[in-house]
């Protein structure tokens, strides 16, 4: 099963890609754990997660070819 991951703002800086493919994650918790293992700097960041454009609040089951977007808050104005 393969998931498309989109990153924004500071998260793109950490992961170094705006778009990447991840396999081996059945749900969003597993996906985040996997990403945090590969990119430890993610752990100290706050962000929201959207599955297929919907912001989720709790662990969500993923399907093949789902798109998970990781959006950090910006403060600038």
């Amino acid at each position: 099963m393969e998931i498309d991951v989109l990153t924004f703002g500071q998260i793109t800086d950490i992961i170094k890609e705006a778009k990447l493919k991840i396999s081996g994650a059945e749900n969003t918790d597993e996906l985040i754990k996997l990403l945090e293992n590969n990119y430890p700097a993610l752990q100290s960041n706050k962000y929201s997660i959207a599955v297929n454009k919907k912001i989720i609040q709790e662990n969500t089951q993923l399907q093949h070819q789902d798109t998970v977007a990781i959006l950090p808050p910006f403060s600038g104005g």
Binding site: L6, G9, A18, P40, K46, K53, Q57, P72, G76
Partner: protein, 382 residues
Amino acid sequence: MTSLNKYHRYQRQTVLKEFGTAAQEKLFRSKVLVVGAGGLGCPALQYLAAAGVGTIGIVDFDIVEFTNLQRQTLYSVEDIGKLKAQTAADKMKAFNPDILFHIHNIKLDSKNSLDIISSYDVVMDGTDNFATRYLINDACMLLNKPLLYGAVLRFEGQIGVFNMEDKDTNIKSNYRDLFPVPPDPASAPSCNEAGVLGVLPGIIGTMQATEVIKIITGIGKPLCNTIISYNALTNLFYDFMISPAKGTDASVPKNKEEFEKFDYEWFCNAHAVLNELTPAEFDGLRIQEKIEIIDVREIGELPEVDEFLFTQIPLSVFENELKSITIKNKIVVFCQTGKRSLAAVKILNEKFPKCSVWSLKGGIEAWKKDYLNSLHASSIKP
């Protein structure tokens, strides 16, 4: 007055059949509060005033600085040092004398914001810090006012409408449904530190003004329960749908009393690393003890430092570079303004739990200023 009648100036929009004089009348009667007359506020103010919003409030306690001019297009070189709210209002009055401006030369806090916000119909968030963003969000929830959110960083911007019910679904959401917990200050850079492409707040601020005009006039579909993210480098827009989160209601102050007691500065800085040294404390430590000093700025950043010895490890490669380093001494980390160094302190604390680690408060900018002052002071001594 140069107009034949009050609609003349607005003819190009009243001619729109979806708009007409009815929408124009709604704008004339509307009251909009723009919080922050900076990168987002400047373009929004220009278009709100151009469109004929009857009353515009401007909140800003800051003064115009030279580095603002790259994106805050209302100001000129001669405005440097002047109050932003007053200066912006003066320019807008000349541009559209029909509009009533209220100038609020203050910093919004939990004591003054309900009074100010309650006399407006719509609020636009053009602030530059999380504490004020959460404050405005909660105030708008309590007062039931639509909130136009916008934020920028580097080449990316976010925009959305909070606290306004979608007419089709009867759902409304707010900033806390999107970001329930404020970020650690060390992990969320500001535009001072990370930079911003000047035109970007122009785009986002103009989109915010568009949504304000749509909300007031009732034309089109406002951006309720959605955040749009825009990337100027790739020209990509991406939207995020927000729904009310379970915990939000419990975390928001429920009434005026609770709101006034809520410390937004603390809320947004509670997780901050407190291991900071002032420039004077740093100099004391530097002279008395053997310490490691690390510059986490990227290669080539100014000002150069030749007053003391240090190692440079840019934050972008910090974690990787640390793998091959052992440190036994006390460590002081510095950057430009003291924000990135907080992030580095956090990493060092994990990697070298036995070392004492500090960040130089205010960064090398503050230190240089102190250092120059002390040189000056010693040179004028008899």
